[in-house]
Point group: C2
Chain length 333, copies 2
């Protein structure tokens, strides 16, 4: 196992220390329990957004804490759900009186722990709404999931709902917006290589030198099928086809195309995939009005990519465009 770490045990805490050292203008790192808030938390009268999940998907979620996006992120151990006490402590730290929205990726442990934290928080008088993101069209149920997995749309929901919260929309409206974003987003991913969870010390799965996994999950969970390696254009087709078949909207819309790297894929390759995905989407009658290209929801050093299509309604686009100032996503601020 070749990694720039000191030990599997210290990895997450040391990375948090690094984030604190680098981004003190944006965020604060809290320990025991571990969570990241904005440097300016809590913000009076603004709905606070909280997300979290296993570590190993960076920059999601800690990299998205800041103006225009999240108020807090709760990192679990690598590929392990955060605990209810982390989520509860973060909830208390960011509530500015307007309530807290939980953005939860659909994995069984995450859903359960966010539910428990929500119960505790409500008991403490904090208004909480939860939205479960389940945009992955690859499989119906998965290793750690009842129902579809939550993947790329999570990043987009955090940005769009973050913009809505900055605009001081009330909790119920931000939550409703988040549900619409989730309902209109569809994703699918693939892997060229496995990743290695530090604690495990060996690859999560084995792919032969001429094989790839189509529909892979962000923890290396099995996808739809394992096939011979293909060229990038064919891979883009293999991801786009199931997404397009599942889309709840038709052509002519303002669609956001997100080509995401799994962690170990060079930017030059993501643009090769973007080129073909854009072509396929356009031929399908979709109008790509916004995009995102880069490694934003990753699986450690896994080589591969995912594609997300999201229809932007007229009220969503301005929130996508709105200023954001986080360590991983920044514009207009």
């Amino acid at each position: 196992m070749k990694k720039l770490i000191n030990s599997p045990e210290t990895l997450v805490l040391e990375a948090l220390d690094g984030m604190a050292a680098a981004h003190g203008d944006i965020l604060r790192v809290h320990k025991d329990p571990n969570f990241i808030t904005r440097a300016s938390s809590p913000i009076n009268g603004k709905v606070a957004l909280l997300s979290g999940g296993g570590s190993g998907h960076e920059p999601m979620h800690g990299g998205f804490v800041g103006l225009g996006m999240l108020d807090a992120a709760c990192p679990g151990a690598v590929f392990t759900s955060p605990t209810p006490d982390q989520i509860l402590a973060a909830t208390k730290a960011i509530d500015g009186g307007a309530g807290v929205l939980y953005l939860v990726k659909n994995y069984t442990g995450d859903v359960m722990n966010f539910e428990m934290a929500a119960e505790f928080a409500k008991g403490d008088g904090i208004a909480v709404e939860s939205v479960v993101i389940d945009d992955d069209v690859a499989v119906k149920d998965s290793t750690w999931t009842a129902g579809r997995r939550g993947v790329g749309t999570t990043v987009l929901a955090e940005k769009i709902c973050g913009g809505a919260a900055e605009a001081k929309l009330p909790l119920a409206e931000v939550a409703a917006l988040c549900r619409r974003v989730n309902a209109q987003g569809r994703s699918m991913g693939m892997a060229l290589t496995s990743c290695t969870v530090p604690h495990a010390g060996k690859p999560s799965f084995e792919l032969k030198e001429d094989e790839m996994e189509i529909g892979v999950g962000i923890h290396g969970e099995p996808g739809r099928y394992r096939v011979k390696l293909e060229q990038a254009d064919r891979i883009a087709e293999m991801l786009m086809q199931p997404i397009l078949e599942d889309l709840p909207f038709k052509g002519g819309d303002n669609v956001l195309l997100f080509v995401n790297g799994m962690g170990g894929t060079p930017a030059i390759e993501l643009y090769v995939v973007y080129r073909k995905a854009f072509e396929i989407a356009t031929k399908h009658g979709l109008k790509i009005g916004r995009n995102l290209v880069g490694s934003y929801i990753t699986s450690l050093e896994m080589a591969g990519c995912s594609i997300t299509l999201l229809r932007l309604d007229d009220d969503m686009a301005p929130y996508w465009d709105a200023p954001v100032h986080t360590s991983a996503l920044r514009w207009g601020a």
Copy 2:
């Protein structure tokens, strides 16, 4: 060889098409010869910044074309210098009457081809200045280099000089600033794994499962030594020590700390390295006033990192902070 490409022959052009499809608001892709300019080029009365080099180091340089940074980038084939005709055509496309500054990484082919292009451009009546970046403390001469290699400081020079050019400084002053940035920047890198150049189809070099290369070049060129894998803190020390020994400045300054991923390294690991590098720099009496953490000058999918320290003079810091709007680096715009 597992890559998201269609063929080695089409990779660079298809990635350029992807960039054009994704970032039409920022840039224009020109073919035959290949170069990227801003969508707004040429800009009257502003010194134009041009850089380039082999592809495979993305987002450098194409990802840095836009407001506040480069006016043009000339991508060669993977790890291969751009040709004089590319550079000359880009020069003509971006000159707004105030001249063009070439930022050239110190590799023999790059230096030679930029020199030839500069001669041609001057013959066509365009004022050109060139600055060669040679900030890598690892080795004195290298596989493709007489003198030190140009690495991480290139990214910082492009940002700072880009800010100066937006402020309408004249060519001689932007060039002088660039020379000072280069003189005050020091870098060193390391690799956990090799990368595979698509045309070659096999790893550029072989590292055993328990080995790493300290002082590696961005094309996988040999560094100072190959040793057993160490923990991240020790690796940070092995990179920081030669940088600190070579620094042309003492403690108490406003220093920028740049921890760069080589392409295949997860963000979580870069923050572990940042944490230790920050600690070492601080103990050394340096005041880290700015930073950059991410994969900005890469070697395809190589796993590893580099560290750059740059002293920011009082006139440099505002240009670093100034608005930038490129596909890979964006703030305040």
